[in-house]
Structures are given as structure tokens and as C-alpha cells.
Amino acid sequence: MLKLDNVSTFYGKIQALHHVSLEINRGEILTLIGANGAGKTTLMMTICGTPRAQSGHIVFDGRPIQQMKTSDIMRQGLAVVPEGRHIFSAMTVEENLLMGSFFRSRNEAAAQLDHVLTLFPRLKERFNQRGGTMSGGEQQMLAIGRALMSQPRLLLLDEPSLGLAPLVIQQIFEIIERLREEGVTIFLVEQNAHQALRIADRGYVLENGSIVMSGSGDALLNDDNVRKAYLGG
């Protein structure tokens, strides 16, 4: 569904991604794990076109996207929940959600809004509340709901569990599995490697901007090196 081939990304002169190749298959949950500063966010944002890949190819559903404008890439059927959520804090929950379906027709947006609100009943309760006044967990749900409003086939999630209580993390992971059942392909970046690998079909390990390992979720969970580096032994 999405294929990165030999992608390198730079911040000025600093190279953040080194010849990364990676493939996401339709219907799976793919996870990317790695330490702080490994380049996980960079990889995810490179798919979105900010920053732009300096070399290599990114193909989504058979279409090369690495030269497209970010706004055009985001209209191809993928959506992102970025690191730090980035909800519009002065806008209401409703307005935040509607921004997610900006380029969809009014009818599509209305239908998808119903769907998102059944996935996240909490957002329905808070429909007219300002995004900035909600709790961290609610904001994360809003960020995911907003991304879903464009009816993406591929959802990119950057550390959705960051800074949340265990119970809320549980809910978020349940939602992710449910989305997969609905047919949404998931690309999940996590530092919470244990939980991520448990629900993932496959995973990649990123170190210093390079992919150093890949395999099924179970294989990585049981790999000695992965256990030592990311699962606390």
C-alpha cells in the first residue's frame, strides 16, 4: 500500500534518515520502534512531505508521492496524528473534527462525523467544548477522530500513548485494533514498544536513522536484542 524505497532525509546538513526502505501492506498494523532521536517522527513526516525526502521514492497505492505538495499528499487517502497531537486549542471539538474533513463533501463529512462520534462517545459529550480545555486523553482521541474524518485508508500515528495514563493507553490501543478491523491500515510509531509490538502484525526497528531490523510483531517481541534495547531486558 505504501512503499518507501531508499529514502534519505536531511535537516540542513544533518542527515536524519539513511536510505530507509519500508513497506506497509493493506490491512495490517505496522509499527516502528526506536529510541529518542532515532528518526521515527522524521520518517513519518517525510511520508507527509514535510520535511521532503531528499532522495529515494515514496509510493502510495501505486502513485509516487514524494514530489507532491503536502496538502495534496494528505488528500490521497492517508491521514496523520502527529506527535504532540496538535489539536486546534481555541476551536471546539466539532470544529476540530470538521477541519479533518475539510476537503470532503458536506455529506461525506456528516456521515463520517457520526461514525467518529460512535467510536469516541467522549467526543460527543464534549462536542462544544474547546479543544484546549480537554484532558490529554480526550485531546488524543480528538486528534485521532480528526484524522479519521477524512476517511483515510492509511492512518499514521506518532506516539499516541505518550503521556497518558495506563487506562487511557488501553483505550487508545483498543481503538487502533478496532480501526484495523474496519479495514484501516495502521502505521504506528511508538516508544511503548511492548504494547505496540503486541498488537502489530509486523514491526521495524529504527536506530540513528537506519532500519536495523524487521519482522513479525511476535518475532521482535521475542528477539534478544530488541528485548534488551526496548523492552527493558
Binding site: 496538502s71 491521514a79 475539510f102
Partner: protein, 308 residues
């Protein structure tokens, strides 16, 4: 009523009139700042171009024998809006967009250059002398005490209030209710995130320039008719005042620009009422300094949110 209170009432009317036009121009500064964090110093010139467009349209219509007041006024407004918006759009496209993403100082300097360029371009094209704007609308109502002091409220002033109120209402509805207005707000809050939601942020930025220019053009037509003379330099002072109003109200805030404009206009008129009128600019800018000392973000501005 005493003479003083009638006199104050008169100045209030005058101040509200000028303040309305400051508010209209200030919107352009505040919206552009709100979305890309730059001061568009060429905005005053966009206002001036609107005034010249209205002048040319009115003279043109008169020579063609069109003299129906509503028709002339409406056409003058329409052409001014169209021409100024085109300039606003073109300035952003040609002079600012290519510089986006670079150091913040550079577009600022470009804006000053753009302002000087436009001023001189109009000076060359139209001459630098004062032109007399035809008095389209004269007369008004007078009230108060004929023996003490007569307060006059001209039709032109009433029209300026009405047009300002209508424009501001339209803007407020657009920003708060429409899909594009919502996108404008989203972009002002988090441009990068808006982009990640598939919004072509360059087009929204262009839209804010066009809206600001259109409102400045409306102010240009109104003030041109109100004062009766125009020259290529009127954009400088009007722009400076409107910028002051925007900062006073809290730059980035649309209600702030409206409030700032009115406060500035009324302050100026009140100063002119009791002191030699040369003092009005001194007082206006002192007011700005004072407010910024005690409220650095302006009256309705929010503290700059740290953008990560």
C-alpha cells in the same frame, strides 16, 4: 446640554467615523500577522490604491454621464475592492511567498520596499499633487442647541458607520461560520497542522491578503469621499494609524483590531477637541506606548503561544 458636552458629542461622532476606517484597515494587518507573523507594511498603499481607483471610477462615470448616486457609489466601491484585492494578492504572491520559510526579517524589509515602490508608482502614474475627490454626498442632520452649539452628523458619516458595520458583520460571520473562515482560524492557530489536514495553506494565506485588501479598499473609498482630497502619500499615515490600532487591540486578534481602531479614532478626536490638533498624533502614539507597557499583548491579544 452645556456647550462642552455638545462639543464632546460632536468629537465623539467624528472620532467614531475615523476610528471605523482605522478598524477596517487594521483588519488587514492583524489577519496577516495572525497567520504568517509578518507585518505587511505595504498595506497602507493597498488602501491608497483603493482610494485612487474610486477616484478614477467616479470621474469616469461622471464623464460618461452616470450621475445616480447609489450607482456611482456602488461601482466605486466594487472597482476599488477588485483592484485593491488584486494588488493585495499580487504583493503576497510576488514579494512575500517566495521568501517564506526564511528568516523573519527579510519579508519585513521587502514589505517596506514594496510600500515605497507602490507609493512612487502611483506618484508617477497619477502625479503627486492633491486631487479633489468629487463631493458625492453632502448634507446631514444637525441637532443640539442653535444658541449654544450645534452638533452635525453628516450623511457621509452615517454611511461610513453603516458600511463599516456591514463589512465587520460580514467578516465576523465569514470567520466564525463558514468552512473557509474555519480554515483561516485553523491556519492562524497551527499552520503546519492545517497543512497536514490537506489544506493548501498558501491559498488560505492569499485569501487573508485579499480580505484585508478588500476591507482597506472600502475604507479608502469612504475616507477619500469624507476628506475630499487624495494624494499618493495618504497610505503612509493611514497605514501607520491602522497598524497602531491593530497593535493596540492586540495584533492577531480581529475583535482587537476593531476595538483598537475605534479607541484610536475617538482618542484622536478628543485630543483635537481640547488641544491644538497637531497633538493628536502624539497622543495617539503615546497611548500605544502606554498600553503596550502595561499590556504587551494589546487589549484583546493573547500571549504568544510557544510554537513547537
Amino acid at each position: 446640554m452645556t456647550e462642552t458636552s455638545l462639543y464632546v458629542l460632536q468629537q465623539l461622532i467624528n472620532g467614531l467615523t475615523i476610528g471605523s476606517t482605522y478598524a477596517l484597515i487594521a483588519i488587514g494587518y492583524t489577519m496577516v500577522y495572525g497567520i504568517i507573523g509578518m507585518i505587511n507594511f505595504a498595506h497602507g498603499e493597498v488602501y491608497m490604491i483603493g482610494t485612487y481607483t474610486a477616484f478614477i471610477t467616479i470621474i469616469g462615470l461622471f464623464t460618461m454621464g452616470v450621475s445616480s448616486l447609489p450607482v456611482v457609489l456602488l461601482l466605486a466601491l466594487m472597482t476599488a475592492i477588485i483592484i485593491s484585492s488584486t494588488y493585495g494578492y499580487a504583493i503576497e504572491r510576488v514579494a512575500y511567498r517566495p521568501l517564506r520559510g526564511g528568516p523573519r526579517l527579510i519579508p519585513l524589509i521587502t514589505a517596506i520596499g514594496m510600500s515605497i515602490f507602490l507609493q512612487n508608482y502611483i506618484r508617477l502614474a497619477q502625479g503627486s499633487r492633491d486631487l479633489a475627490m468629487p463631493a458625492l454626498i453632502s448634507g446631514g442632520i444637525e441637532f443640539g442647541d442653535p444658541d449654544v452649539f450645534e452638533v452635525s452628523l453628516s450623511w457621509m458619516q452615517l454611511i461610513i458607520w453603516g458600511v463599516t458595520l456591514a463589512s465587520m458583520t460580514a467578516l465576523a460571520l465569514f470567520i466564525s461560520r463558514s468552512r473557509l473562515g474555519r480554515a483561516c482560524r485553523a491556519c492562524a492557530q497551527d499552520l503546519k497542522m492545517a497543512n497536514l489536514l490537506g489544506i493548501d495553506t498558501n491559498r488560505i494565506i492569499a485569501l487573508t491578503f485579499v480580505i484585508g485588501a478588500a476591507l482597506a479598499a472600502i475604507a479608502g473609498v469612504m475616507l477619500g469621499l469624507y476628506y475630499g482630497t487624495i494624494n499618493p502619500y495618504i497610505g503612509f499615515m493611514a497605514g501607520l494609524k491602522a497598524f497602531t490600532a491593530a497593535v493596540l487591540g492586540g495584533i492577531g486578534s480581529i475583535p482587537g483590531a476593531m476595538l483598537g481602531g475605534l479607541i484610536l479614532g475617538i482618542t484622536e478626536a478628543m485630543t483635537a477637541a481640547f488641544f491644538p490638533s497637531e497633538y493628536k498624533d502624539v497622543v495617539a502614539f503615546s497611548l500605544l506606548v502606554l498600553i503596550l507597557l502595561f499590556r504587551p499583548t494589546g487589549l484583546l491579544g493573547k500571549p504568544e503561544v510557544e510554537k513547537v
